[in-house]
Amino acid sequence: MTTLDTRPIHDEVPGNYLTFRRGLLSWLLTLDHKRIGVMYLVAVLVSFFVGGVMALLVRTKLLWPGEVSWMTADEYNKAFTLHGAIMVFLVIIPSIPGALGNFVLPIMLGAKDVAFPRLNLFSFYLWVLGAACAVYSLLAGGFDTGWTFYTPYSSQFGAGGTIPVLVGVFILGFSSIFTGVNFIVTIHKLRPPGMTWFRMPLFLWALYATAVIQVLATPVLGITVAMLVIERAFNIGIFDPAMGGDPVLFQHFFWFYSHPAVYIMILPGMGIISEIIAVHSHRHIFGFRFIAFSSIAIAIFSFLVWGHHMFTSGQSPLMNVLFSAITFSVAIPSAVKVFNWLATLYKGSISLNTAMWYGLAFIFLFTIGGLTGIPLAVLSTDIHLHDTYFVVAHFHYVMMGSALIAMIGGLHHWWPKMFGVMFNETWGKIACALVFIGFNMTFFTQFMLGSQGMPRRYYLYQPEFQIYHHISTGGSYIMGLGFLITAIYLIHSLFAGKKAPANPWGGASLEWQCTSPPPHDNFATTPRVGDCYDFSAVSWDEKKQGYVVDAEAHVAAAHHGKGH
């Protein structure tokens, strides 16, 4: 079908998308959303490894309050900048939509592919090009501006690799926009008959809300970094006051994108958690409409709160007050989701698989991440906490403890589907526990560091903070070990894992009704859909060692309004 690789099919073993065609070119030129998803997955995980190593270097330096011989202040600044830029632009933003979304979205819709398969592949190669720019910027002297690129530091001083990395960010923005456009069109046009908006899985609602933000907000980032490149390269004053520009204007532009970007990162994660909690509780998700609409509410409100990053920036006090007030509006839909997930556990039949462990870890960590946002949204307390480790801890609880944990949870949830193998559950739980404990050690101590007044991005610090840094760094090593174990048992499962059944967890949405791994075309005929959260027609099949969905009963139940 859809592939640029036009070699005749003769020596392949048909059966699933992994064996459909062979050879490196069949991957590099594929138009299959599943293969593109897998390529994204590999790319994102490699970047995650590099960004993680940077984080460990930074954490290791912070064991000592003074200078260390093996890392200068300049190297430290470059390391934390690289960590932030990689994790935001190369890992978290593309991770869930690019890797898991690409793989799962068309299958959940019962479609053969996304609406624009070529655009999808182009999107991936834009990611590669953007990443290449970032690598080139390292050769050109690195960059040390922090991932926020604040002017006039970035236009006057920043290290030699600043322009290349800005070009990279510009290109990555287009990769993100194209994925967004593709998903919006796919969800509008390729839903199967019978799948109304309110029968659509919540993961797709989340991806849809995310895609809207990607399409509307990312162009602002593109324009902003383009203006910064112009200022730096041609000395045209836009943001630099020495040339008649305004540095606070840059912050407005930057956060007009980067605050919605926070929701580009977290919304898909929330979508995954809705799937994981419902499937592993084997019961109908509680309050479907509230969860679905809260994703849309978050997407809308996310555009109105950027100024809360700037309470101390010198913007007018009136703006501060307005932004603080509006910021609280984002807290409500997030809280609604947490309460709905809790209510979904109520009277469920909860199986504690590794994916569910990650789902529960998400609820725990996101609750902390969300609640600690309150003192940051409150004007008077934010003045004290702004630009301290409290902020660092807060956004790591949301970006890593929530968005990335959801991504890892989703990876475990769909791993059997993606590769047709089961991973080792025992090691999965051990690794999850290590990541959870390590994460809390690393970042909970940083709340204390911050509220005690330790500023962020500090190479040297007061000796009174050392004990917190020791616990934090110790935690980061435990977390690193957890991820290392995860990598080992996942890779091991590819070669030696037990063959996965079509439906290992008992899901009722469409992706569990095709084989694991799915065939090249996903479904031979367009499947009929029922209520994807109605588990009344799901039962355990001893022979298949997996669950089976009685499709007839499932669809019939939806038409009779049963299963609610």
């Binding site: 109908h284 556990l345 309150i374 509220s451 007044g453 190479y459 007061q462």
Partner: protein
């Protein structure tokens, strides 16, 4: 419903203002698990808000996580039983957990708003200190012209900082005062605080202080850009600021122009450049072909025009000014007596602000202008 909100808010706000910890003059609040020592009038109110939010957060955290663990244990899967018949929605419950958190955050917003308004309302009698931030240090300038690298403030008096940056963004953060404000090049930002208790000395007789941090990333020396804040009682402070203002007297005469000149010139640099570029006032450099400020003033054949005629008609034996030094001194103390062609009467008088020694230093700098770079740094003979 609105009634309920108002009532709730009044209760909460009343509580904040009648909190016993707010009574003034009790000394700094000690360091706690979450917060450092609180040593300004803001610390007391802001810490109360922080703790109030914390208690709400503890409640919701334990509620969510407690219910989560309870449900996971109570409703764990038994055997391969799969289909669980939990309710799929409950509109009243869901509206409840939408509306109640909304009311709570409205209250929290107003408490924070109240604290913020007082942080932004500078008292009219505040003592003003001018702050210049530059990579990687701070210059604090007091009303009598004294400057310091660490910050000294009088106790029990509102202090207002008017801040500007020489280069990139910085942010001035005094954690024990709970205040922070970015310092932005190209504009002035202000903040104020009042510290009631002098920092004093510890048991070993060393001066105690509060930390002052730069909290906006500014380059390799960012984490070195921290200084100390000393709070002195009013008498000690007045003594200190006068003594600090005498820094000029401590510089030997032969180094006066090279050491004191650049420091003093910093006050002129807003209007006068050194390299001939246009400014509010005439450049000290050569801008009209008549030489730099000293050459064009001292030369008997100067083409420099003042009051519509050549400057040499003003200076010399039997003329208004006997020598160029007298003319320059007059230009600093009575700047609008003579107006340089192309400029208006814009310069304020420095009478009472610069003493004879300071004027000496400035004139010395003018005579040796070739020993300074375009920014006023002394570079020595070329």
């Amino acid at each position: 419903m609105t009634h309920l909100v108002t009532n709730l808010m009044t209760t909460v706000l009343m509580q904040s203002s009648t909190d016993p910890a707010l009574a003034a003059g009790e000394g700094p609040t000690p360091k706690t698990f979450w917060l450092p020592e609180g040593a300004s009038t803001f610390a007391e109110t802001n810490d109360w808000v922080f703790n109030f939010i914390n208690y709400i957060n503890y409640f919701f955290f334990f509620l969510v996580v407690g219910l989560m663990f309870y449900f996971v244990w109570k409703y764990r899967q038994k055997g391969r039983e799969v289909y669980a018949r939990g309710p799929s929605h409950n509109t009243v419950l869901e509206l409840g957990w939408t509306i109640i958190p909304t009311l709570i955050v409205v209250v929290i917003f107003f408490i924070g708003f109240r604290g913020f308004v007082s942080m932004k309302t500078v008292p009219a009698n505040a003592y003003q200190i001018d702050v210049t931030a530059l990579r990687y240090g701070w210059v604090f300038k007091y009303p009598n012209g004294a400057t310091s690298e660490d910050l000294y403030v009088p106790a029990g008096k509102p202090v207002k900082l008017v801040m500007r940056s020489e280069d990139v963004l910085h942010s001035l953060y005094i954690r024990d005062f709970r205040v922070k404000q970015d310092v932005v090049p190209g504009r002035y930002t202000t903040m104020w605080f009042q510290a009631d208790n002098p920092t004093g000395q510890n048991e070993k007789g060393e001066d105690k202080f509060h930390h002052l941090f730069c909290t906006e990333f500014c380059g390799v020396g960012h984490s070195n850009m921290n200084r100390k804040v000393y709070v002195l009682n009013e008498m000690d402070f007045n003594e200190w600021v006068v003594e600090q203002g005498r820094w000029l007297d401590k510089i030997p005469a032969e180094e006066l122009y090279s050491k004191a000149g650049p420091k003093l010139f910093a006050r002129c640099a807003g209007c006068h450049t050194l390299d001939g570029k246009a400014g509010t006032g005439p450049s000290w450099g050569n801008y009209d072909g008549s030489g730099n400020i000293w050459e064009r003033t001292a030369s008997a054949t100067s083409t420099h025009k003042v009051d519509g005629k050549s400057i040499s008609e003003l200076i010399g034996q039997g003329k208004k000014y006997e020598n160029p030094e007298s003319y320059l001194r007059a230009s600093i103390l009575n700047p609008n007596d003579h107006i340089v062609e192309g400029y208006g009467p814009a310069m304020p008088t420095f009478r009472g602000q610069l003493n004879d020694k300071a004027i000496d230093a400035l004139i010395g700098m003018m005579r040796h202008l070739d020993e300074f770079d375009a920014k006023g740094n002394f570079v020595g003979k070329k």
